[in-house]
């Protein structure tokens, strides 16, 4: 089972075979896959503390077992609608690498599916056209049955300076 496929080798050498162990979750209409190894836990929705003037992408904080953890909404980065939480909403606590520093962050998921294996061979680079998302946020696109699974590049997403408050909430440099 634990073929321990490193994400960074995934896109580089896809033909070596093997599979990626991934947690699949749904953000709006798309299925995303997060490397299962990086997932710490999955929580029901807990009270969220809003951080005034923070980027909308990381606009909240939650308490995970006595730890203050930033809550990120990937839907902001993928330009999706953000309906309020419902019974299926979950919080996935993952460890991401921020400039070489492992950091615990929580991400909102509209629904969490299951842990699955994605054949490395089926993973392709994100196409340059036919996609309204920034290609650097996507590590690759895998396939399971007829479904496409988006493998986001968490490191890039979290280190990008994007997602500043926009529109009416101007990005004031606090």
């Amino acid at each position: 089972m634990s073929l321990n496929v490193n994400m960074s080798t995934l896109t580089g050498a896809k033909s070596t075979g093997g599979a990626m162990n991934a947690l699949t979750l749904r953000l709006q209409d798309e299925i995303f896959a997060v490397e299962a190894e990086s997932v710490r836990e999955i929580l029901d929705v807990v009270p969220i503390t809003e951080v005034p003037n923070a980027r909308i992408f990381v606009g909240g904080l939650i308490n995970v077992r006595g730890r203050v953890v930033p809550l990120a909404d990937l839907r902001v980065m993928f330009g999706m609608e953000r309906p309020p939480a419902d019974v299926n909403t979950r919080i996935v606590v993952v460890e991401v690498d921020l400039d070489g520093e492992p950091t615990i962050v929580a991400i909102l998921a509209d629904r969490v599916h299951d842990v699955t294996e994605i054949e490395t061979a089926t993973i392709q680079d994100a196409p340059r056209v036919g996609m309204r998302w920034r290609p650097e946020y996507i590590r690759g696109i895998g396939k399971r049955g007829d479904d496409f699974i988006i493998i986001p590049d968490m490191g890039k997403i979290f280190t990008m300076e994007d997602g500043k408050p926009s529109g009416s909430q101007e990005g004031v440099g606090l």
Partner: protein, 682 residues
């Protein structure tokens, strides 16, 4: 736990000894005639040499041996102490530190230092015989012993403690060292060796009986056993004079040196004679009983206590909502225990700042040499205690500030004299408690900041407009801007425009503040204000809209109700009249873009940030609470108005306001609103 690497122990010990050596050398610089200082430097050297050899740091032992030999002439009073000697001795001390830190890399660099040291010692010989005379007058044990001991035979019996081999002592080395002193006849005493089946190979059963003929004084023999002396059996006796009977009779009256033919091995013989200074140094090393604990264990303890405080807050909340008197009583009990535990734990982490100040003496000494400025360095308030982490992180910023004070602050001696001041500059480093903060000030009596030059430089760097009108303290703040430096010439020490901004950032990272004040011709004072601890603070919990925020209680001055007329007057002035003083206020609802409807009676929390007093308008003041500070992740590094977050009794997260940043933010926010309004009007 006990499996610590012995070389680590040596490194740690050596570090302390080197520090001790450095302090003694620096003290000697000020008081060259103090024999105690010479002795304590020498002891430190000798211990480093001995334990260095024991732990296999041959380079260190070799180098220190040479250092010691040269320095010995100073101890014997045949060479004098000069500033030059102190300088090269300090360089030698640095070299030892390098040899220990990176064995095998720096050995070659040692010889020039030793050469220099020898030259300096040689040149110091003769022309100041004062210390010798003084020593002789004071009874001069060393010199006197030297005279008496000429060519005598000593009988040395010693037996090492049973665990000596386990602890790394090597009797062969001791015997070798004795041989170095003179001709030895060594006999081994095997009477304590048990039958074969009872022998523990790690135990040392042997005793030795050595007859040594030497010119060296008694002291030299004692020194051989310096490191094993504590538990060993040792007797040193004068046997028979090697040369003349006359010297023997001169020695005979000394009660401790009896001519006993033999001694009973069974009876542990206490060390016959212990020099006074060694007793005192041992006593100093063992004052009170203290314990060395790895820092991370303290941090873990602190984390646990933090969690306990959070859990306790939840318990109190439950108890408050309950009618059960027992639960209430228990909750109060736990609260008392938790706060006691918290205080004790924080106390463990407190370290007197003097440990840090000591390091700067060397810095000042070196700078004063390099720059040719004589500096009196005064430290005050060494006993002031601060959190260990704060102290560690303060070291670099303080180095910068002190460097600046000496390099830029103090004028050259000639200019000082022209200005009617003493040629010697003065830098004063002081620490004092001020409420929940510690203020550390670095004051020089130099020329003061040149406001015009700061302005010119700021205009040149494009930081301010050429015609900008700025108050003095605003101009001073520009010094902290990245890439700002007023030094006309870049020296090797400062003036590269890095420094003050880093200092400011580090201090703010510690949730502290930095202030600068200066008077032309009288000097500059940099004041750092730091919180006592980084872990837990008393906070005042307030509510703004749906969000709850904690304001550090140390910053809170008072709470008042927002007058209804001030509330109504939304467009114009935003200040209150607090007992005749104008206090501007910020509406946190506006700053935080709160959408929830405002409470009818808004409260104002008056906080102080530096020289400013500002009111923060909130919806509700909830009360005081223990706030365990959790830092925010990098993802929120751009949100500077919060210094961290904490977890409340009900398990939700509350943000901790960073008062000084909030005030700055509020100023920007208001000026932008003002500009917008003017823009709209135009």
């Amino acid at each position: 736990m006990s499996a610590a690497d012995p070389t680590d122990v040596f490194r740690q010990e050596a570090r302390e000894l080197l520090e001790q050596l450095e302090q003694a050398l620096l003290d000697l610089n000020d008081a060259p005639d103090d024999r105690d200082l010479v002795d304590s430097s020498f002891r430190a050297l000798h211990t480093i040499k001995g334990s260095g050899a024991m732990f296999g740091f041959e380079e260190v032992a070799g180098f220190v041996h040479e250092f010691e030999t040269a320095f010995d002439r100073v101890r014997k009073g045949t060479a004098s102490i000069s500033a030059e000697l102190i300088k090269v001795a300090l360089a030698a001390k640095d070299h030892i530190a390098r040899l220990i830190a990176e064995p095998g890399k720096h050995a070659a660099a040692g010889e020039p230092i030793l050469e220099h040291l020898r030259t300096v010692v040689e040149s110091g010989v003769g022309h100041v015989p004062a210390p010798v005379a003084k020593a002789a007058a004071a009874g001069a044990p060393a010199a006197a012993a030297h005279g008496q001991s000429h060519g005598r035979s000593w009988r040395i019996k010693f037996r090492l403690p049973e665990n000596a081999l386990v602890l790394g002592a090597n009797p062969l080395l001791l015997l070798d060292e004795l041989r170095e002193l003179g001709a030895c006849e060594v006999a081994v005493s095997t009477d304590a060796v048990p039958p074969l089946d009872a022998i523990d190979p790690e135990v040392c059963y042997l005793g030795w009986d050595v007859v040594l003929s030497t010119d060296s004084p008694r002291q030299a023999i004692d020194d051989v056993f310096m490191f094993v002396r504590d538990d060993m059996e040792l007797s040193i006796e004068l046997v028979a004079p090697a040369s003349t009977v006359a010297t023997a009779s001169a020695v005979a009256p000394q009660p401790s040196v009896a001519l006993l033919p033999d001694i009973n091995w069974k009876e542990p013989v206490p060390v016959v004679e212990i020099e006074k200074h060694r007793e005192t140094s041992n006593a100093a090393g063992k004052t009170g009983s203290s314990l060395r604990v790895p820092a991370e264990r303290l941090d873990q303890l602190m984390d646990r206590v933090g969690e306990l405080v959070i859990a306790q807050a939840r318990l109190s909340q439950l108890a408050a909502a309950s009618d059960d008197a027992n639960l209430k009583a228990l909750s109060e009990e736990i609260e008392r225990l938790a706060s006691g535990l918290r205080d004790t734990t924080m106390g463990i982490r407190m370290v007197p700042i003097g440990t840090l100040f000591g390091r700067f003496r060397r810095l000042v000494h070196d700078l004063s040499n390099d720059l040719g400025k004589e500096v009196d360095f005064v430290t005050v308030g060494e006993e002031t205690e601060l959190d260990k982490t704060v102290i560690e992180r303060l070291a670099d910023p303080l180095v910068h500030v002190i460097r600046n004070a000496i390099d830029h602050g103090l004028e050259a001696p000639s200019r000082r004299v022209n200005a009617g001041k003493s040629g010697r500059g003065r830098v004063r480093l002081a620490a004092t408690h001020a409420g929940a903060e510690v203020a550390i000030s670095i004051a020089d009596d130099g020329a003061g900041l040149n406001i015009e030059r700061i302005r010119a430089k700021a205009v040149e760097a494009g930081l301010i407009a050429a015609d900008a009108k700025l108050a003095e303290h605003e101009l001073f703040q520009l010094v902290f801007h990245p890439g700002f430096s007023t030094a006309k010439e870049v020296t090797s020490l400062s003036g590269r425009g890095v420094g003050m901004d880093v200092v400011k950032r580090t201090i703010e990272g510690l949730r502290g503040h930095i202030d600068l004040s200066s008077k032309p011709g009288e000097g500059t004072t940099v004041t750092l204000r730091l919180p006592l601890t980084l872990a837990i603070i008393e906070g005042m919990l307030v509510r703004v809209g749906q969000g709850r925020y904690s304001i550090p209680l140390s910053a809170v001055e008072e709470c008042v109700e927002l007058p209804t007329d001030a509330e109504a007057c939304k467009s114009g002035r935003n200040f209150l009249n607090i007992r005749g003083n104008l206090v501007p206020f910020l509406r946190l609802r506006e700053l935080f873009k709160t959408k929830a409807p405002a409470d009818p009676h808004q409260k104002v929390v008056i906080v102080s940030a530096g020289e400013f007093r500002v009111g923060l308008v909130v919806d509700q003041v909830i009360g005081n609470s223990q706030t365990v500070i959790k830092s925010l992740s990098k993802l929120h590094a751009d949100v500077e108005s919060f210094s961290g977050a904490t977890i409340l009794g009900d398990g939700t997260v509350a943000l901790i306001l960073d008062v000084s940043h909030l005030v700055t933010f509020g100023q920007n926010f208001e000026s932008r609103l003002r500009d917008e309004r003017i823009g709209r009007a135009a």
